[in-house]
Subunit: 376 residues, 4 copies
Amino acid sequence: MQGTTAIALVGSGFMAKVHSHAYRNAARFFELERTPVLELIVGRDAAAREAARSRLGWNRGAGDWRAAIADPAVQLVDLAVPTDLHAELAIAAARAGKHVLCEKPLAMTAAAAREMLAVAESAGIRHAVAFNYRFLPAVALARKLIAEGRLGRIRHWRARYLQDWLHDAQAPASWRLDAARAGYGAHGDLNSHIVDLALWLVGPIAEVVGDSRTFVDRRPDGRGGEAAVSVDDATTFLARFQGGAMGTFEASRFATGAKNRNVFEIEGERGALRFNLERLNELELFLADEPAEIQGFRTVLATEPEHPFAGAWWPPGHVLGWEHSHTHLIAGFLRAIETGAPFAPDFSDGLRCQLVLDAVAQSVASGRWEAVAGIA
Amino acid sequence: MQGTTAIALVGSGFMAKVHSHAYRNAARFFELERTPVLELIVGRDAAAREAARSRLGWNRGAGDWRAAIADPAVQLVDLAVPTDLHAELAIAAARAGKHVLCEKPLAMTAAAAREMLAVAESAGIRHAVAFNYRFLPAVALARKLIAEGRLGRIRHWRARYLQDWLHDAQAPASWRLDAARAGYGAHGDLNSHIVDLALWLVGPIAEVVGDSRTFVDRRPDGRGGEAAVSVDDATTFLARFQGGAMGTFEASRFATGAKNRNVFEIEGERGALRFNLERLNELELFLADEPAEIQGFRTVLATEPEHPFAGAWWPPGHVLGWEHSHTHLIAGFLRAIETGAPFAPDFSDGLRCQLVLDAVAQSVASGRWEAVAGIA
Amino acid sequence: MQGTTAIALVGSGFMAKVHSHAYRNAARFFELERTPVLELIVGRDAAAREAARSRLGWNRGAGDWRAAIADPAVQLVDLAVPTDLHAELAIAAARAGKHVLCEKPLAMTAAAAREMLAVAESAGIRHAVAFNYRFLPAVALARKLIAEGRLGRIRHWRARYLQDWLHDAQAPASWRLDAARAGYGAHGDLNSHIVDLALWLVGPIAEVVGDSRTFVDRRPDGRGGEAAVSVDDATTFLARFQGGAMGTFEASRFATGAKNRNVFEIEGERGALRFNLERLNELELFLADEPAEIQGFRTVLATEPEHPFAGAWWPPGHVLGWEHSHTHLIAGFLRAIETGAPFAPDFSDGLRCQLVLDAVAQSVASGRWEAVAGIA
Amino acid sequence: MQGTTAIALVGSGFMAKVHSHAYRNAARFFELERTPVLELIVGRDAAAREAARSRLGWNRGAGDWRAAIADPAVQLVDLAVPTDLHAELAIAAARAGKHVLCEKPLAMTAAAAREMLAVAESAGIRHAVAFNYRFLPAVALARKLIAEGRLGRIRHWRARYLQDWLHDAQAPASWRLDAARAGYGAHGDLNSHIVDLALWLVGPIAEVVGDSRTFVDRRPDGRGGEAAVSVDDATTFLARFQGGAMGTFEASRFATGAKNRNVFEIEGERGALRFNLERLNELELFLADEPAEIQGFRTVLATEPEHPFAGAWWPPGHVLGWEHSHTHLIAGFLRAIETGAPFAPDFSDGLRCQLVLDAVAQSVASGRWEAVAGIA
């Protein structure tokens, strides 16, 4: 490798930890031309920032994100911060000529996402949104099989992203439950992932109708008081894909017993697929062209050299974990920055997702089907 | 056993076969006071009827259902015929003082179901609708655990009843695809089952919004021509339960790879349940009250003497099949006729289900949420 | 159907219940030329016998098995009695010209089994042993796939038949724990099944080495005292098949959590199979000839018309239960009696199984590999 | 962190890759007092070594392992080399006062392992053997539950470690198939893992009887010729544990369809456990003390803060991969070096495992049960 790609990471929480891991390890497993350098980590609290810097392996720390954007050495800015900060920071970084990787959902609203995309395009920088599940071997295999026509025309998409960390009414409030910081609740956090997968695997969505619920509207604030919950605890919706498929979506933080159960099921004319994030190395595949006697869902353990990403790691059957999705995404984005090759998901994908999320929210308010606006 | 219960069965297809099996075997495994007598089978085609009579074990055959209703020896009339015949036959049987077991869905419309219920009640006969899945050990166990409060307040209901026998566009037409005979398609055939389970396990539904699709609208008619498909191939809907839970429902005959995949998942404050008809002896249960270290979905193999219905059959682990659900239902209904004890599901349950189905159909037409009418 | 096949059943316990069910229902689902008649049930205790007769649907009862053998009307004698009675009764029945169906294991020893076979053959009667698991659709499919060469040469057989009804040291004694009545314990009861499947699916076994254990050697006798346990609670063994495959076998009644877990796994040059009796409608199949990208174990739900036995019952996905294995066996044996067609498993298969069981017992005693004697 | 632990790694293959990953990342997720320094990587081929050095992140390279041992800066020597080199290198390193981490199996024979242990102990260095599966959260949880008595006395251990990379007769030869380099074949490579788990989870083994097979005895040598296969392709054995449990073990590289299927099942008086490496985040647990109505195997997703190792990584449900087992082992060993705390598995565990492997080999030769020699 010759040269470096210097990175600034804004944020010091859970996502900062996993992104740092990905930057540290990407070049150990994937071919990059330049060495990724973990240059600067930004966090407001000095002690927490320094602890994160040291633990996660960053060269320097700063208290204000403007430092990252002003720093001429920084080439890539990574935004692992609450959603309300995405637009301002991404736009500032883009205008400063930095490449930007932004956590999902891309923005508080489709309007903000649209502006982010416009600025990024006019600035000519590379941009990405962290829809990391596209980068799991089993999911990338699903995309490949569909693209090859193995399922034929798609009839049904069925996805649910279920967690249960709020099912206890005494679980404390956080920024994720505050609409002013997070925008949507489970809808933005979880439906954003499965909407992106649906758009990527099945295609554009024409119309949606949805429902949202906040089961517990006040929670301990961790300081002896209570905080109002201003986001949805769960959001479900039906979708009509432009290509004719029917879709169902469900996101919940109240799905007792589900820890990180991102499940999708797809049925087409010629076959079907099933995926579950809690068993993320596996893809279940049904092929209707086979003789009836031996038809059945097969469980493909996506750890073979023939599977996307898997060959970079260990021998067959030596399974990967959740974090690898981020390492694959980041390795791919670094490589795209180096080579100028196309990269997805970018801000246009972030906007596409946001348009669906917003149409659902509009439907929750109107009580009827709402059309999903176009990206243009 | 002293005395007999003489039965007339109208129909000679698949459901007639399984009901006959249940009548023949119910008293071998369950305590009945009177011997069920397979007295009369009714079918229009003489050859087919005679073949069914002989094969299925009925004493006599008749070509017209009026024979069954006119026969003073017949005490119970079982309607295993297309949906468009349910109301006329059930009403005639009730008026003749016969007890009636009717296949599901109960009627073409809620209005017809309401009339059936009214006539049955005023005639004072016993009535039942064949929502057989309530009678599986694992499902009855689910009901018991919920009634005991093991799940706490229910937050989510998620059900799908998926089959794939129409995913091939060359699969032939039948009465089930003709709205004039069947009423609804997948909606009436499959959603009726999971709506009944939802109402039984979670409670009344206040509002629904839905979507229907006919993917293939003309099919071979088996006589060298084509027949129009006038029913839905798939129907999905969202529901708001009166008790505050959110629901998603999906029925499809185009779910490639799904043979008889009736799945429900329920999450409550304190626990969760999962069931899949293709593994019908198993109930998955999660209890949130347990220590986090050992929490997890357990697979209860519902074949113990402690489980509903299971003790009547074989030792633990000797699993039951699909047909047993019908045997349990019929044994229970025969017993209720003998003793006068309450029995459910009866026509009021058939009506409750129909009201939900109709509200969904109304929503498909209106494009918005529709309230579910009350039974009264 | 013209004519009848009159049956006498000796025994009134669990196996009598399931055999009766099979005789009552076989002709309802399978093509038979003659009507099976449940003529005579034999049991020593008059009250229990009469209860069984009435409940299970037999015409007459008798207190001594000699009545069945002396009765000229009886054509088939079914032995659902403890193992120590098999040889005497089967030989007497055969000499009287009755066809015989005998529960497994066929006899107390290979020597006794050999005599039973010789008498049956010289008497010219039809004989069968109730290795019912051959008659499950998924298992019969396994046999077909192997016969077609889909797995290539077999390398590994791995089977375990695990139950847990004795893991509680206070579980009471019964004839099954008494060597004088049962011969072997778990070895005879459970290993007999998986040995038969191994011989049928993979082929003859050349040598074995084994281990047995009685974990609890005294148990409550149900009369306030204690009874010695004189059989094995668990027996494991290794096998060398004549064809070169390696085998492992395990039977236990102390496998806590396993209710009826009869599992086999087979690997060959070109593919592999897995089966689990607790999910008996499913066969897992791996085909090594497929592209690596989509290889995986597929779960075949063996309920299609293309699957053995399944077409006689319900539509696809309407799963069968454990009892169906007996109905299939008995329908097949009745049909073989009618037509003279070959039928297996017969007493020669019972003997083959016994020779393996005995060689294992010999190895447990000798502490070394023992050859399995030939049938001739 | 103050100070450093300087490491030399001998080897540049698959295991070198995963050990390097662990050294690079251990301090990012676990509390260490000193920074691990990837100082020196040793490999004979200069080009391959330099590629590995650069890719895997080592400071320097060397062509001879003696360089590592002679280097005063090196504190820990990691042996990721073929088995025939273990004893010489480990002994030399220990004598030079280096701590040693050695891949499994520890040695070619128990005698060599015994010498390694003696030298290590007399040198006073810290030693470890890479039985990495002890360090998976689910497996460590299994150990904790057993230690707490949740299973009661253990009755059965059943393990199989199945791979299929040799099932194709044209798969090429390698050092792993050469007895002079590898010692045993599947027995040393795979049984060593499950023997270690058995000893750790259940306790010492008293006696064994086994069987080995080489299915394909000549393979392409990759240079146009053929090489003899001098190791076992598969080895099965039965075991008698000192505590009274019965055990079955199977290792194979011919188990078509099994990629890395390390499975163990344990039944005790009060409960049972099941584990499968292909779903390594899950532990299945059965507790016999629960009411029969809700008993069943629960699937514990071992990703909670309450589970061993899991809290260091991501939120619940964000599953780990295979490599994490090595990171946990290496973090623990580095920490033990820092603090002087006990660490297992060490060379005594390597020897214990070897004594079982050797007794099995002896049994394969003798055809009878063989006692396992004691460590002392």
